[in-house]
């Protein structure tokens, strides 16, 4: 049997996606090879949130040389290596490691978000403890739960996820039950009349799509029950890469496919 190449893995991804209704767009700058190329022989595949040095190292130690990250590898969305090359601290170390260990990286972002379900949303819901049965409709990303307080809801999210750097805006005593979830920057605004709380990944604090933190602060002053639970871009999208590994496994039966976490981004002072 011929060895499995990275190009063949990508071809199968494109084929299966097309069958599932997601035709491949070659125009994207995101979903491309970021290191190595189609001829690299694949020893195993690691899906991960981001092409961090930690994810690459962990995958390599597990014998997996093909990394499929959702986000970038070179600290900018376009993966413009000219930007990263300006860094004298770690860029060369990272690239040398990848070359030495025959790493190949193929990013998958835009096409994942076009899949239904969007694994980034279903993964987030799973990892923050929202039961699928409470979703108002398939892929609505809206959940109605038994009434609780913002403080209790945030505590339960933290308990399930375990991360420290979860940030919350709003009155902890606010009574809430209608939740909208977000993944990464695709985090919905909190001002919709039929939403009490948004649980999302990342948003500009001001001058983003909508300045939800200020809106929730004002809502708290007025006694309008609103909440904003922001768990981090990484935390909101890492979980969906577990679903991606599960999706990939049957189409590349020749090799091992694992989900490898990109690593904790932030800690908070004790």
């Amino acid at each position: 049997m011929a060895a499995l190449t990275a190009g063949e893995v990508v071809n199968r991804i494109k084929t299966v996606m097309a069958v599932q209704g997601v035709t491949w767009n070659d125009g994207t700058t995101r979903d491309r090879f970021k290191f190595g190329g189609p001829d690299t022989v694949v020893t195993g595949i690691a899906t991960t949130f981001m092409g961090t040095f930690e994810a690459i190292t962990t995958a390599s130690r597990l014998g997996l040389n093909m990394i499929i990250p959702h986000e970038d590898t070179y600290w900018n969305d376009a993966d413009n290596t000219l930007i990263a090359e300006a860094d004298p601290l770690v860029y060369k170390t990272k690239v040398d490691f990848m070359a030495k260990h025959d790493i190949v990286i193929f990013r998958i972002h835009d096409h994942m978000h076009r899949q239904r379900p969007d694994f980034m949303f279903s993964g987030t819901a799973r990892e923050v403890g929202l039961e699928p049965a409470t979703e108002t409709a398939p892929n609505s990303h809206r959940f109605v739960i038994p009434e609780t307080t913002l403080g209790e809801l945030a505590a339960s999210v933290k308990k399930v996820r375990g991360d420290d750097a979860i940030r919350v805006v709003g009155d902890p005593r606010a009574k809430v039950r209608r939740i909208a979830t977000g993944a990464g920057m695709a985090t919905p605004a909190v001002n919709a009349a039929d939403i009490d709380v948004v649980i999302g990944g990342e948003q500009r604090e001001i001058e983003g799509t909508f300045d939800s933190p200020e809106y929730v602060m004002d809502a708290a002053t007025l006694g309008v029950p609103k909440g904003w639970i922001i768990i981090g871009h990484n935390m909101s999208e890492e979980s969906g890469m577990q679903e991606m590994a599960d999706w990939l496994r049957p189409i590349v039966p020749e090799v091992k496919v694992l989900h490898v976490r990109a690593g904790t981004v932030y800690w908070v002072p004790k």
């Binding site: 961090t52 300006a86 601290l89 170390t93 999210v157 750097a165 919905p188 001001i206 004002d218």
Partner: protein
Amino acid sequence: MTHVSRRKFVALTVGGAAAAPFMLSRTSAHGTATVTAQDVVDRVKKSIGVEWTGDDVDTFKIGDPSTVVTGVVTTSMATLDVLQKAVQAGANLVITAAPTFYTRADLSTPAGRSGGPGGGAGRGQVAGRGAPPSATPGPSPASASGPGTGASAPMPPAPAMPQSVVPPPQPVAVDGRPTPPPDPVYAGKNDYIAKHKLVVFRLTYHWNQRKPDPRAQGLAAAMGWTRYAVGDDALQYEVPALTLEALAAQLNKNLGTRGGLRAIGNRAMTVRRIGLLPGYTMIRAAIAMLPGVDAIVAGEVQEWESATYAQDVAFAGLEKGFISIGRVVNEAPGMQVCADWLKTIVPEVPIRFISAGDPYWRPV
């Protein structure tokens, strides 16, 4: 360079907002001359020391510019809480770094929806404002402030954007049909502003172009670092050695942050050289600064850019730290500096800074 004492800043940031209001009277010790909101803004434009580039974000957001000013409050963000504290303090002109109405466009009513009685026409109360800025939602990379704003574009929110990202268009009232209920938060804020005849002006784009950067200058003052400055741009400090963990804790204490401060790097590493990246910055700025310092203290960055960079550097075992304090928290010291500067050009009325605080808390 306006000096901000550390004690003064801390008092105003942490507990100062609730401190006793200053007594205000138009015929008080400040003299009998009256000054309007427009007068204040005209003096700002004349004296700010950077070219006023016309109608950008730095405009009146609500209220009548011809209002006679009883007192001025500068703030990091004109939340309703800050507006209430301003009124308690007898001030009626609020100068804010962040938007008042939740978007860069700063419209006092959400698109297609009533802002509620008393304030729905807030936009119409604003005189002397040129063509309104684009109301197109979405990130505005061109407006990103701070040094080193790179060419790398933020990730467009194209994929799978949930429907509630922007205020949904509401049906136009037709005979026999009820009008949609007003957004209670817009309505409540507009009502309060109308009732107390407040005027809100945003001052950020031009203010933050001053040299040194007021946000960096004010942050250093709040931290007691001014005397440790390296160079004259207020962006780097050589401080007595401390651990990254201790630095994070000191920032928390002195800036009054609750849940907004987050850090990357070995907690036990030693920090001597600190670099500041005020406001919202992109990856080129972090790459340019981190090699020359032990730790960066930034306002706001995108997670897939500077945060991941710092994560990779730390994973490689290098002793480098990165701390994000939050955008609104980072605007506060700059607006403290602004209050002190305004006192020199508007001597007729009392002026003080009131912080919007840290928006975030952490679950237990």
